[in-house]
């Protein structure tokens, strides 16, 4: 595939962008220094530019005014001239690699939180509360409108003086501009509300003020949604009218279009479609906008694959594709396209770990790429071959931690053997991928399979490594990533037995992996409230079971992130799964052919019973430590990881003993991932990368 359309340059305003690929505006949560673009921020964008990305629009929801809160999500603060030198660093870093960089600027109006930092009074056209952030606000006054119009212009000036290539005005996600547009939020009767022209007025004044400030040789774009998907919201036809209206001014250089409003949990999930969505689900909306405007249209939403992007661009639906999460997963995506290494691209699987962290105010990280946004720490996207001696590295366990360990060690040029007890790689990812709408998570494994094969790792699948086998291989370094097992033995009264026919409860793993057939009338007890519980509920319901999922936590799926739980809820409610909270599983007993689960209310102690034919318990993972303790005392380092070195991304000091022959005979032993303590995929991969990159 030639990727001619993808790699064709395009002009936006007075700027030439080297290809059609954009990393669109998203909150990075990296501008931790009072809204300044930190070293971390710069390196994060530099890496994308280095990897060939044409245009990065940084700083999702970067604020132009002091009363649009910035601190919660560490977004960029353009309300002060202090930002200008920081922008210069950012612009230089991106321009050095031939990329272009613009920033999204906005006033969020009512959309944010007021209960922190400067405790601002939030603003909106008619003072109507926003549900997603549970935020209340005041009705904006005329003076404030004109102040904010001026703030937009000054923010754009700062971006220009900082050497950025343009600004994108956010009129999407129910920020202030589109709060004025939307009749469901804008109930004003003055010149700022009511008629179409009046509702458009605030955005138009912003556009005029910004353009007047920055002139013609600076890009000014507008990001809009293609349809709010609210019964009383702006429709696609409304949005076409709005886009055409602004386009007619000749002052907008591009439109960024995405599908869906986002001021409810359910609509928010549309904005960053997770793996439950089909590819490019809202392309038609962007294509509709392209019909009515005269400038380039950018569209992002579930475009993850360069072949898909090429198809969209070659079809002429839009002019540029946003591949934002695709670049979080692999900032070298374009470089790999150009190198003819499309099958080496680490493709986004839509796990939405990045955006779900962001909604918790945590820095954006990738579930499968631990180097992303850690470039400033020296975490590499491309592992360099070791200049030191070639070592024998043996990895036990083919889950994410083990696969990453094997990959990194092999990239270092070592002789790597990987043991996996199952017939295929993936560990818990394989199980997770069995649930409805979750199959794409197996993409994580697929990439590792390709890479490990390319790197010539000796993969011993279906082989459970024992002490003797491992020692026979005479490893220099042994990495244990053996994972764990479902922790059903925690409470004996649950009636778990290792003999399947005697056990009263089964694990979510056994259900999802197909080891145990689904019951007809099933109670799921979910003590964890992560993906596993709702996944097994969805799976069982999908197989026709009547399902109740019970938790002692606040709600089943409570720990599933904000862009993921809505797709589970849609499916579970649709399948009439009962979700019950505040009940703990007390005990299970058998009565005839049936099972009786005794549930106890967390707050009242009152017990109630459920008569079912299957009880599934999701109680997290218990580490498998046997192999570790068998080998620990034989290893040079007694299995210990030097945390100072690990956290500082420095080589483990004990590695030196291998080269110098000190520290006794034998191997170095490390363990990581769930066989240490159950955490998550990212944790296992991060530990593997930072540990093994210096082998």
């Amino acid at each position: 595939m030639a990727f001619d359309a993808l790699l064709e340059p395009i002009r936006i305003g007075k700027q030439t962008i080297r290809n059609r690929v954009v990393s669109t505006a998203h909150a990075e949560v990296h501008a931790t220094d009072g809204g300044m673009t930190t070293d971390r921020y710069v390196r994060y964008y530099e890496e994308k530019a280095k990897g060939g990305c044409g245009l990065s629009i940084c700083g999702g929801s970067s604020v132009v005014s002091i009363d649009s809160p910035q601190g919660w999500w560490s977004s960029v603060n353009l309300s002060t001239d202090r930002i200008i030198p920081h922008f210069q660093n950012l612009a230089d870093a991106v321009h050095k690699h031939g990329g272009k960089i613009m920033i999204q600027i906005t006033h969020m109006g009512r959309r944010s939180r007021w209960d922190g930092y400067d405790w601002p009074v939030l603003l909106s056209p008619s003072g109507i509360r926003e549900p997603v952030h549970r935020s209340t606000c005041k009705t904006i006054e005329e003076e404030e409108i004109w102040r904010i119009v001026g703030d937009f212009a000054q923010a754009a000036r700062r971006a220009k003086e900082g050497g950025l290539d343009g600004v994108e005005l956010s009129a999407v996600h129910q920020h202030l501009i589109d709060q004025f547009w939307s009749p469901r939020v804008n109930k004003r009767t003055d010149q700022w509300g009511g008629s179409f022209e009046n509702r458009m007025r605030f955005g138009m004044e912003v556009l005029k003020a910004v353009r007047a400030e920055v002139g013609d040789d600076f890009v000014v774009g507008l990001r809009i949604c293609g349809d709010e998907f609210h019964p009383d919201g702006l429709t696609h036809e409304d949005m076409k009218q709005i886009a055409a209206y602004y386009d007619a001014t000749g002052q907008v250089d591009f439109f960024g279009v995405i599908g869906s409003g986002s001021d409810t949990h359910n609509s928010l999930a549309n904005v960053i479609p997770n793996m439950a969505y089909p590819p490019e689900p809202f392309l038609h909306l962007a294509a509709g906008i392209k019909e009515v405007v005269s400038v380039p249209v950018i569209h992002a939403q579930n475009i993850k694959d360069p072949n898909q992007a090429e198809r969209i661009l070659a079809g002429g639906y839009v002019d540029m594709v946003g591949m934002t999460r695709a670049h979080i997963a692999d900032p070298h995506l374009i470089a790999k396209v150009k190198m003819g290494q499309v099958d080496r691209i680490k493709q986004c699987v839509g796990a939405n770990y990045c955006i779900d962290r962001q909604y918790q105010g945590l820095d954006v990280l990738c579930i499968q790429n631990a180097a992303t946004s850690r470039e400033y720490l020296g975490l590499p996207h491309i592992i360099e071959k070791s200049q030191g001696p070639k070592r024998k590295v043996v990895v036990v366990g083919g889950g994410p931690g083990g696969m990453e360990s094997a990959r990194v060690a092999a990239e270092r040029g070592h002789d790597v053997t990987l043991f996996e007890a199952e017939e295929q790689l993936g560990g818990q990812i394989t199980i997770a991928a069995k649930a409805p709408q979750r199959d794409q998570i197996a993409g994580i494994t697929r990439w590792y399979q390709l890479e490990l094969t390319r790197l010539g790792v000796d993969q011993r699948l279906g082989t459970r490594a024992d002490e003797a086998t491992l020692k026979d291989l005479r490893p220099d370094i042994l990495v244990l990533a053996t994972g764990g097992h479902p922790f059903l033995e925690q409470h004996p009264q649950w009636g778990y037995s290792e003999q399947p026919e005697q056990s009263l409860v089964v694990s979510s793993w056994d259900i999802l992996s197909g080891k145990v057939a689904p019951g007809k009338n099933v109670l799921i007890y979910d003590a964890i409230c992560e993906f596993s519980g709702v996944s097994v509920a969805d799976y069982l319901a999908d197989k026709g079971a009547k399902v109740e999922i019970v938790t002692d936590d606040v709600k089943p799926g409570a720990a599933v992130g904000g862009t993921n739980f809505p797709t589970f809820y849609r499916s579970l409610y649709d399948k009439e799964v009962i979700m019950t909270s505040d009940l703990a599983l007390h005990n299970v007993y058998r009565e005839g052919d049936a099972l009786v689960a005794v549930l106890e209310n967390e707050y009242t102690g009152v017990q109630e019973e459920r008569v079912v034919d299957q009880v599934v318990v999701e109680n997290g993972v218990r580490p498998d430590e046997a192999l570790y303790y068998a080998l620990k005392d034989q290893s040079r380092n007694h299995g210990q990881v030097d945390l100072e070195a690990l956290y500082a991304i420095q080589p483990q000091p004990c590695l030196a003993t291998l080269d110098e022959g000190q520290g006794g005979d034998g191997f170095l032993l490390f363990r990581l991932g769930d066989c240490t303590a159950p955490r998550n995929t990212h944790a296992a991969i991060y530990d593997a990368l930072r540990l093994c990159m210096d082998f």
Partner: protein, 668 residues
């Protein structure tokens, strides 16, 4: 008796030789006219033989020494024999006696030489033709021994009649055999024909400039000759043997069937249906008329001997579907050639195989419209879009949207015009171009590009035989170039380099053209590049044909690698003996199947060195070598290695500081 018989034999042989020569000349003159200076050529011939030809022959010390003894001995013996035995000067006292002794020495020398010829023929390498060539050592011995013995009588060591008339008669027979082979066999088509035709071929060579001169000429002439497309009478290429120029036919006739071309030919080694030696012999068959049944060397792989034939006026290639069957050669033989010039480089008789092949391809393409496989598409693309891939001609600079390359159209002048080549459309080559731009910028070279004004150089069109498209592209480029002022053209594409440097001249474009390796070497030598020490894997270097054999540049790329601190692990076949990657002459486009792929064989050469990286200097070589499955070495252009080796501001060290996780900095 001998003193009567010998003059008769000698003059009869000479007379027969003269008749044979006239007949041979008539065969050559079937070809088209070709302007050469007869007098100058004949005057230059001894030097061409003794210096240029000997330079090639001397690559094989055994045969070169053997040839000096045998041929030197023969020429001297032949002249002396005419004097001594033909004119009877040997029986006189004084000078005559000396002549006799000299003749003894010459024939002895020739005899010793012929012993070595015989030794070579005892177990000959497969590249040597057999047949009549197997009797040659015996003929040489017969001549030299016969002359030696009869001359013993002349100097008085043995009696005049050697004791008996029977012995004399036997001896006369031996001498007759020798004379037959060595004198009239020379012009009547025996193995010794090579001496007669070879000498005249050297004198009237179609490329006199390829020979050195006392003043030190370039000694290199590799550009293809332009077709005069405006001459209605001139055939478009060569369709029948008579369409060659007379001195091309003469050149074919000079072939000594040593098979050095066959041993060097990558297509032959790959089992494609081409053997340069057989091709030249087929041209001789065509010139004389007949079939190839008497050919006694290796056939075209997969094509049995005896099925092809022709005549001077008949077609060389049978027109498919018209009369079916075969003619002198099959089209796939001509399309197997990569135009790598390995055969020309090795040929001790200075025969121009590549010229001949392209001449015949011109006819197939221009007259038959029959360029095989993707050839037609590529030519259509070149006609429609001015580039072989059919890309939008306005997209040549797409790869460089982030490079801010200065355009000649904006600048009007620059020290260096960077010629991009069609690699500008290829993602792999774009990496090389980016690296080259980085190097030029690091050395602060004042350069600019033509950008979308640049067209394909015409290389592929020309080598696929489409001379018309070549000339159109070349003229267009020449017109574009004439609008701007620049001192040099620099390009990373040896094909563009060769065409711009050696083939545009005939159409009025004369430029100072550098291959990037040469230019980078000069930048380094003048201290404009600051390179750091090489830390990578072991490296070998692949000489691109169009840089090496076509233009004699073997040193600069190696100097650049040395400047990077790389010690090149040379392949057995490197320098002028480098094996082609298989990518030249449109061969990947016409794609004639063989038993193996040429680039696979080249990667085997690389593997033998144990190098983990093969440095190249050509987009075609890069593409071909990178296309090898399970290659043992990485393929990198020299520009990429230099760009990586540039001593820039030290790369950002891995951050050593402990960093607080951003979570800590957040308000929970």
């Amino acid at each position: 008796m001998l003193d009567i018989l010998l003059p008769i034999l000698i003059f009869a042989a000479l007379a027969l030789a003269a008749i044979g020569a006239l007949r041979r000349v008539r065969l050559w003159r079937q070809g088209r006219s070709s302007p050469v200076s007869i007098a100058k050529g004949l005057a230059a011939m001894p030097r061409r033989y003794l210096v240029d030809l000997h330079h090639v022959v001397a690559r094989d010390k055994y045969i070169s020494n053997t040839h000096v003894a045998t041929a030197g001995g023969f020429v001297a013996a032949a002249v002396l024999m005419i004097l001594v035995h033909g004119l009877g000067l040997g029986s006189l006292q004084g000078l005559g006696g000396v002549l006799g002794w000299l003749l003894l020495a010459a024939s002895a020398c020739m005899f010793v030489g012929s012993l070595f010829v015989a030794k070579r023929r005892r177990n000959p390498p497969p590249r040597l033709s057999k047949g009549p060539w197997m009797r040659l050592p015996k003929s040489l011995m017969a001549f030299s021994l016969g002359v030696f013995v009869i001359t013993l009588a002349s100097v008085g060591i043995v009696p005049a009649d050697l004791g008996s008339w029977i012995v004399a008669l036997v001896l006369a027979g031996v001498v007759t055999w020798g004379l037959a082979e060595m004198v009239f066999g020379m012009t009547w088509g025996g193995p010794m024909k090579h001496a007669f035709a070879g000498a005249l071929h050297l004198a009237f060579h179609r490329r006199p400039e390829r020979f050195s001169t006392k003043e030190g000429g370039s000694g290199r002439s590799t550009g293809l000759k332009a077709l005069d497309l405006d001459d209605d009478r001139a055939p478009l290429g060569v369709g029948a043997p008579r369409d060659f120029t007379w001195n091309q036919l003469l050149g074919f006739d000079a072939c000594v069937q040593c098979g050095r071309c066959e041993a060097a030919c990558p297509a032959f080694a790959a089992g494609q249906p081409l053997n340069p030696k057989k091709l030249i012999q087929d041209m001789v068959v065509g010139m004389v008329g007949g079939s190839d049944a008497h050919y006694a060397g290796s056939p075209y792989p997969g094509k049995p001997i005896g099925e092809h034939g022709g005549d001077p006026h008949g077609p060389i290639v049978a027109r498919p579907f018209a009369n079916g069957g075969t003619a002198l050669v099959d089209a796939d033989t001509l399309w197997s050639c990569t135009t790598c010039r390995a055969c020309v480089e090795e040929c001790p008789m200075m025969i121009e195989h590549v010229d001949a092949i392209v001449d015949m391809r011109r006819f197939l393409t221009l007259e038959h419209g029959n360029t095989p496989n993707k050839g037609g598409d590529v030519l259509d693309n070149l006609i429609a879009t001015d580039n072989p891939g059919g890309f939008d001609p306005g997209s040549r600079l797409n790869w460089a949207a982030d490079q801010n390359l200065p355009l000649m159209a904006d600048r009007q002048e620059a020290e260096v015009l960077l010629w991009l080549g069609d690699g500008a459309f290829d993602m792999r080559n774009q990496r090389t171009l980016r690296a080259l731009v980085k190097v030029l910028r690091a050395a602060e070279v004042d350069f600019a590009v033509l950008g979308n004004e640049e067209r394909d150089s015409g290389d592929v069109a020309r080598r696929l035989g489409d001379e018309a498209t070549f000339q159109r592209l070349a003229r267009r480029n020449i017109t574009t170039l004439s609008r701007y002022r620049f001192t040099h053209i620099v390009t990373c594409d040896p094909h563009s380099f060769h065409v711009l440097k050696n083939e545009y001249g005939a159409l009025g474009g004369h430029y100072s053209v550098f291959h990037h390796s040469t230019y980078i070497a000069e930048l380094f030598d003048s201290g404009r590049l600051n390179l750091k020490a090489w830390k990578g894997d072991s490296v070998t270097y692949h000489d691109p044909c169009y840089l090496g054999r076509y233009n004699g540049e073997y040193e600069a790329p190696r100097r650049v690698l040395q400047a990077l601190g790389i010690e090149v692990k040379e392949m057995a076949r490197s320098g002028y003996r480098s094996r082609c990657c298989g990518g030249g002459g449109g061969a990947p486009i016409t794609d004639i199947p063989g038993k193996r792929r040429i680039p696979d064989m080249r990667m085997d050469d690389v593997r033998e060195t144990g190098a983990e990286l093969v440095a190249v200097g050509c987009p075609q070589c890069t593409a071909m070598l990178e296309g090898v499955v399970n290659a043992s070495a990485e393929v990198r252009d020299i520009a990429e290695l230099v760009a990586e080796g540039l001593n820039e501001e030290s790369a950002q060290d891995r951050a050593s500081r402990r960093t607080q996780q951003s979570e800590e900095a957040l308000v929970s």
